[in-house]
Symmetry: C3
Subunit: 268 residues, 3 copies
């Protein structure tokens, strides 16, 4: 199986992702190509990083992920490809792989990153506006077709990293923020299960979650533990504290948006 | 050909359908995976059932359809897999297969349904919020890879069925309702060609179709029989009475919505 | 590699594109199928033609492109299939291939067009409303499976062509119009690099681009040449003069829509 995924902010209407697939199949005819998402908000690198981090663990070893949210296209920003653990990542050097790199380091898995600077692995003509087509898709296709990572460019060890907002410890517990609003209106925060566990190490427990003017008493294990329409807090399937409405939209209910504060009170 | 389709209400922006594909390819690397739709309205089981019923007849024997519109995820609702005729269906036991089951029974084709209760065919960790990833995708992948249906779980014969609204006979003819508004604004009703034929058995014929304040005189065979902009009634490509505007939107013209009444008068 | 692409105005929500894939795999099980776009504005043939022309050059020889934007379905409009250069195109005879045909003629590449009039290569039942499913998908599948083009129908040499608006020469330079607004709000015009070159042959150069009340001094090579938020004019990756905002939306900034005039002044 030669598997490539695509994650971009290109949208689906103009055919840009399909163009990347055409380029890939011209180089690696037997590649299977899956779309992770093309609906990242334009130029929103952090949202792209989060979506990529959510999806990649479920793909087989050897998968090549092409992630192109690229506000710096046509500037001097580098193009990179990376092996992080058993999978590969290709895209602009702007922090899209930050969350995966952190995880890979944490697990002591192998890391190898190269600056894509060998034009023989790109399309013959490279535009200054569409490197997804001209640089990243062909590089990924060569990777999946068996070209070694270190043939595609020069090793680097200083990839650009995003500065990810971390939850803060406050007198009553933790304060985080909404970092993702999904299709169902679920509000994911930057407070993960580990942060909650750390804050609760001495036997404390979560007593309430506050967002906007809403106060949610305690957390539940799953949607099914409450009645449709209830506003709840839980650890979502990505491992983050999330605020949801059972069979409804927490974004609609609370009016909360990206960046809005969420407080978790630890009762003593 | 090992073919799996996906039908969900997950949307395309967050990468959830791609995650299901990653899981599938980890188990069945040579599977081909097609998206039927991920734009079912959140938790709208009936719309999911209708979309699945529209699409499945055009897929080859042996195709495995994964349908996940799952407001009951994390509750005690069962997970099921079914062989209906020559194809397979995997998803929550909430009525998504109702329309296909009816058709299969009507045709006296084979029916076999199991309760998915063998965790060895799921992901090692099962969340309470995302069974599409943890239960349904791996089950479908094992099915397409050759595991027999009855290995995946215990046979059942009481799948949950949706109660589908049927058209009513009224003094002047039939009264049905809008059950689907498609991308073009076509308004499909629950009055199918068979119901019309039954009501017209004694030589009557359709004289007019009423929706909102609009009266459409008679039915046409196809869009091409009228002029662009005309409001028409016809049997659509799914076999249902539909109200359309030639090269336009009947939803926009009439303001009609899901559930709105549609009357067909049979002239005597 | 047996590669088929789909371009339609069907949208993604109702499952129509998936139905076409099911039909294809029933005939050509080993075909790979890619979506170019299903978000063409309903019945907008020109937008479909433009999207197809943008994407096809990046697909391998032998690819079969199915393009269905088909306001005339169910009328007497012909169904056609064409070999243009090294690739194939299947769809209604309404001008969808105009731009590609012009390019193919210009390059003196082979052209072969047939009227699809052999029902043995269609589905057994042909509706009057969904030829994408009943005629075009099966024809494409037979093509990719090895049936010769001239077996599918009778040769024709009079395909219907769109009348494409050309930029006009005005005293101060060229006047064109917005022909595409993409996902990012970039405004592409019908003024291509060749038209600019022709107008500038005697040493003139572009001095400003006017759109709405906005005046853009000169053109840049790429987004990276200006600061985020700047309104710029450049030759886009499709080869057309476009108006953009660096890391923003020119459609949002200018309020410009399809068909709005764009003037390029050539300084003397």
């Amino acid at each position: 199986l030669k598997l490539i995924t695509l994650l971009t902010d290109f949208g689906l209407e103009d055919g840009y992702p399909a163009i990347m697939k055409g380029v890939i199949w011209g180089i690696a005819p037997d590649a299977q190509v899956a779309d992770i998402s093309h609906s990242v908000s334009p130029q929103n690198i952090f949202q792209g990083a989060l979506t990529l981090k959510r999806a990649f663990p479920y793909f087989p070893s050897g998968t090549v992920h092409v992630a192109v949210v690229d506000p710096g296209v046509g500037t001097s920003r580098r193009a990179i490809a990376a092996r992080l653990g058993s999978q590969f990542f290709v895209g602009p050097d702007n922090g899209l792989i930050t969350l995966i790199l952190e995880r890979t380091r944490h697990q002591n898995d192998p890391i190898e990153i190269v600056h894509l600077n060998r034009p023989e692995y790109w399309l013959p003509q490279v535009s200054r506006g569409f490197h997804g087509r001209d640089v990243f898709a062909p590089s990924a296709a060569h990777l999946v077709a068996g070209v070694a990572l270190d043939r595609l460019g020069t090793p680097i060890d200083d990839p650009l990293l995003l500065s990810i907002p971390a939850p803060k410890t406050v007198p009553t517990g933790l304060q985080g923020q909404v970092i993702h609003v999904d299709h169902f209106g679920n509000l994911a925060t930057n407070i993960d299960a580990a942060a909650l566990a750390a804050a609760s190490l001495t036997g404390q427990f979560v007593s309430q979650v506050r967002i906007g003017g809403h106060v949610i008493p305690g957390m539940v294990q799953a949607f099914g533990d409450r009645t449709p329409g209830d506003l709840i807090a839980l650890i979502d399937s990505d491992g983050y504290l999330a605020v949801s409405v059972v069979n409804g939209s927490a974004a609609g209910r609370t009016g909360a948006q990206l960046g809005d504060p969420v407080e978790v009170s630890i009762e003593r």
